[in-house]
Symmetry: none
């Protein structure tokens, strides 16, 4: 969270409404032939026009040079220091498939793998076993009884699954079983803090039982576990900002993340059109809406430049519909860049605009990486976005006499 | 203060002279019809020309989105972290009317109010009683004897006054009496730290005596007190920067604030012409001059766009006169923006330029919010201005071997 204790004294409730549209993986890099980025290539007349009358800049998700995962990328956008507040891999994987994690529960990411007769890993992904096959195995593992602990297993995709432990006094202070290479055996879990002894024993009991269950499988005859994690304590946006915030996101992980921050997660359909319809239907019920647009990141991760261009053009066509609701503050932000030529999340500065009746409008000519850099917000930490939003929505009073 | 302990090792005395012209409430926002800000509307040929040969940028007074009062706004300009160093409301109010506050003294802001027969507040501002009326009441309150403490009362304006306590072992760790709403009674003061018990008792004694004195008044028959504060410990600019700094400001509050930072406060007249004349007369005596220009903020707070434009044009006409003194470093800065359309202090980035023989001169075409953003300084914390000033004045040696 921003290191600004006086925020509690100056934040105030008001009827104004804020919309934060997060275009996942928004930023990009030029195509080697055209030397134009995805945003520069896309036709985005609505975003371009809006940029001209908005406060514009480029955000740094975590630190310059640091490419964030979806967890840190989003925490920054909502004003939480992404270096301080970490969401563990197990918890994030569970949220990603819509499995809720309650305080005190431990989640871990699981992989099916192939071991030889000596128990040495020969394939860390069990031949990338198909989802249908692994789903049947997950169902079997879910029947395992571990004394004193309830072990639940959920399928993710291909060779991946989630293990969730429910019980008294569980701890995430245990080592991982995944040796991270072939030619080694999966390790037993060890407690790295005294209070984790029972958790380590429960996990090892589970693994031994699972091993005997899987022994006859041709490919997925063993498993590895890593990213054991408890739910982090995240102060609620309700308390921190005096907002009544809502999340509209088609993908489970973003819904789960939003719920950790105290947002109300509104059920919606699987497309962005559904999300915008939901926004319109529930407009009167909240004063802050987090609206998540996934396709830009997906196309970028696929390394598909043209597809990413299309997703940005699609996003642009929805802008008038959102603006028609007349939000007092409308922001377009990204959790990180996903340049198609990298086919991965990157550390590059992320396009940002904020529009309200209190924005100067700097005459930025287009919504893209190069043009937005000339805006009045300059390059700034994503963690400061929420302060800007609250100020422009008349939700912050003067600091100090 | 900037978190840079090595400053003490690299700062050095030199004969060069620095002028920091602080145009209070400098930044603005566009007029709804013309879409031009006050600075963009004003004819400021001297500032425009200077911008072209200066290092230009936009400053963030405290944090993005945070609109500062005059206290934090000015502390940042002089290199003091405005989140860490807080000047209490009582002390600032005292400084604002030219009442000095010594170490160990406690100042509070007082309001006259109207209570009904049950002691319940029915008007928190005593019908906005006129200054002349309240001055007579203040004189009366000033006669109150409190055992062990000297209580002095000073008029501010309308229903407002300052209470200052002088004595041994006073503390500001007491609650406020102002319930901040009508329909409630003023509260007794309570100690929130053990060492504040005597202070709380003294204030309550004062209030009881004041209440009986005021009982027969038609409107101002009671008072409330808040913002109890001691002088904060602020390291001196003399020690920190090895400067012999002076303040030239027509308004008492800015003089008081400057004196807290170790500046010598030079007597001057009530207009900016007087201030510039004082600067010329005392040119040989100091190496740092803080020159305060108030009218821009006053017009902005009045919500008078045209008046603010005029104040900026007036300021511009004085620029050649200041430059004629040939300061080695000349800066134009603001403690915060005061957009006329908001009629209030705001959080928006504040225009800034610095001219010296070591400035690149980026060819910025005009002195306004949009144009200056393209300057080489970009957007940066006001707290860094003093480092820039010292460097450009050849008062900082190389850091590290």
């Amino acid at each position: 969270m921003i290191d600004f204790p006086a925020l509690a004294e100056i934040v105030t409730k008001s009827p104004s409404k804020i919309v934060m549209l997060v275009a996942d993986g928004l930023g990009g890099l030029p195509h080697p032939e055209t030397r134009k980025s995805e945003l520069e290539t896309a036709s985005t007349p609505n975003l371009d026009r809006l940029a001209g009358v908005s406060a514009c800049g480029l955000t740094t998700p975590v630190l310059p040079g640091v490419a964030p995962g979806s967890g840190p990328g989003h925490l920054g956008l909502f004003g939480y220091d992404p270096v301080k507040y970490l969401i563990g891999r197990g918890v994030l994987e569970a949220l990603g498939i819509g499995v809720p994690v309650a305080p005190g529960e431990v989640a871990a990411r699981g992989n099916f793998c192939t071991v030889d007769e000596d128990g040495v890993i020969v394939d860390r992904r069990a031949g990338r076993i198909a989802s249908e096959e692994s789903a049947a195995l997950v169902e079997m593992l879910d029947t395992i009884d571990v004394p004193g602990v309830q072990a639940s297993v959920y399928p993710v995709k291909d060779y991946r699954f989630v293990l969730k432990l429910t019980g008294e006094g569980l701890s995430d202070q245990v080592t991982e079983t995944d040796p991270q290479r072939t030619g080694a055996k999966p390790q037993d879990v060890e407690a790295i803090a005294p209070e984790a002894a029972a958790t380590a024993k429960a996990v090892n009991d589970f693994i031994r039982e699972a091993w005997s269950m899987l022994a006859e499988q041709p490919k997925a005859n063993m498993l590895t576990l890593r990213g054991f994690s408890l739910l982090p304590h995240l102060p609620s946006m309700v308390d921190r900002y005096l907002l009544d915030p809502a999340a509209i996101a088609a993908y489970p992980m973003y819904r789960g993340l939003a719920s950790l921050l105290g947002m109300k997660v509104i059920p919606t359909g699987g497309t962005f059109a559904d999300e915008v319809a939901t926004l319109r239907e529930r407009w009167d019920e909240h004063d802050f809406f987090y609206l998540h647009y996934k396709p830009a990141d997906a196309a970028g991760e696929d390394g598909n430049f043209d597809a990413k261009v299309e997703t940005l053009e699609e996003l642009d066509r929805f802008i008038p519909e959102v603006l028609a609701l007349e939000p007092d503050v409308f922001m377009v932000a990204g959790d990180h860049a996903t340049p198609s030529i990298m086919a991965a999340h990157s550390w590059h500065p992320v396009p940002f605009l904020l529009h309200s009746k209190w924005t100067l409008g700097e005459g930025v000519e287009a919504f893209n990486e190069r043009a937005l850099g000339a805006g009045s917000l300059g390059r700034f930490p994503a963690e400061h976005i929420m302060l800007q939003a609250l100020a422009h929505a008349d939700k912050l009073t003067k600091f100090g006499p």
